[in-house]
């Protein structure tokens, strides 16, 4: 165990030196850059170098620390980029463009239904992805504005299912199978709703 830590130490030292060189390079780039949008991109790079230092802890804790760090970083990135858009007066959304291909008027219903059925059969994350693709294809083919409220509501209920599954894991560990099924179905619906939105909300005013 001791020699393992000693070895870790050397690796850690090398890693932290490399990380700090990267930090210095990225900050130097930040100083030299004058254009706002390029600054924004470089600042994202700078944040990643911070996460590298966190990752060098190299235990389970590192993962637990990277995730919130990443979330905060992305939140800041989104806030600052929205600010940049407002500052430059670029917040107008592009006009929607929809694919108008003849085969898409008929085929998606069948293929979409098949994909959704297969996704429900799979459950879990993969199932949600496939079912979501099916829904996206269906909406794409229908060439209309759908009510997204329904899929958002379903997403909310799915989240509740997932949390319930999570709680059952902790409170009644003997019921693990039920909890697993709740979580699997929940995440399936959740991913499906998200993917469906990704497929249909491009350029939409909503």
């Amino acid at each position: 165990m001791m020699e393992f830590i000693a070895e870790m130490d050397l690796v850690y030292k090398i890693g932290i030196s490399v990380a700090f060189i990267a930090i210095l390079i990225s900050f130097a780039a930040m100083i030299r850059e004058k254009d706002d949008i390029h600054k924004l991109i470089i600042v994202d790079l700078i944040e990643l170098t911070g996460l590298v230092v966190v990752a060098l802890i190299a235990t389970d804790l590192a993962e637990a620390l990277i995730l919130p760090g990443l979330v905060v970083g992305i939140a800041e990135m989104m806030a600052v980029s929205e600010l940049w858009l407002a500052k430059e007066g670029l917040q107008r959304l592009p006009t929607p463009q929809r694919a108008d291909i003849e085969v898409l008027h008929t085929a998606p219903k069948i293929i979409g239904a098949l994909l959704i059925a297969y996704g429900i059969f799979l459950t879990g994350f993969t199932g949600g992805l496939i079912a979501g693709l099916g829904l996206a294809l269906f909406f794409l083919g229908k060439n209309t504005n759908e009510q997204f409220l329904a899929s958002e509501t379903a997403s909310g209920y799915a989240w509740a299912l997932w949390v319930m599954g999570f709680l059952i894991f902790f409170l009644f560990p003997s019921q693990w199978f039920f909890a697993l099924m709740l979580a699997a179905v929940g995440i399936m619906i959740k991913v499906m709703a998200k993917i469906a939105l990704v497929g249909t909300m491009r350029g939409d005013e909503s």
Partner: protein
Amino acid sequence: MMEEILVTIPFGDMVHYLSEYTIVLFAFAAIFVILAVISLPEKPVDIAFGTDGYTLKETPANLMKFQRFMAIACGIATMGAVMTGDIFNFTLFAAFIGVLNIGIVAAVKNKHVLSAAFSYGLVVMMGTVPLFSGAAIIVATTGTLSIWELAVSGGVPVIAKLLLLIGVLGEGMAPFYIGKAEITRASGAPYILMIHVSSLLLFLRLVEILLTV
């Protein structure tokens, strides 16, 4: 039953650090959250020069609601930052305060204010690097993030303390940038106060942490 549940789910890293000092800071932040909840935005006065006439600038309701929400959230994040007993949580709260400070002024439709907030946003994002690096180096060298344990064992490298200090300097720099919002008389006066409060309390807590560990 309830006790059993609380025992089964420990609150993990949600360690609080209660001392007379942090309680005072917490109460201070809490007072300003309450002020943000109950107060109405001021109406900046424009005087027509050479006459007795003046006009009051009304704050639009949606801008007011957004700023109030951001100010309250910023106050709550400040309360978290001054109370937490975990260094990584402290850095997260500090970064969070940075985002919320941007949010307080972001809704103001004034190019000068927006570009000041943009510059501050870049500084906030750069500030997270030394913040997280400091916390990461602390956990890598001492094996813990708890301020309680670090206060007993010590051994925090000076470089980690310096990094934390630089990080909080970046996050707490808001008043220098936000000054522009006040100089240009942008609306939302009681809520912009929260920026100063959060920055001040963040520095005060950091000093306490650096002296303790």
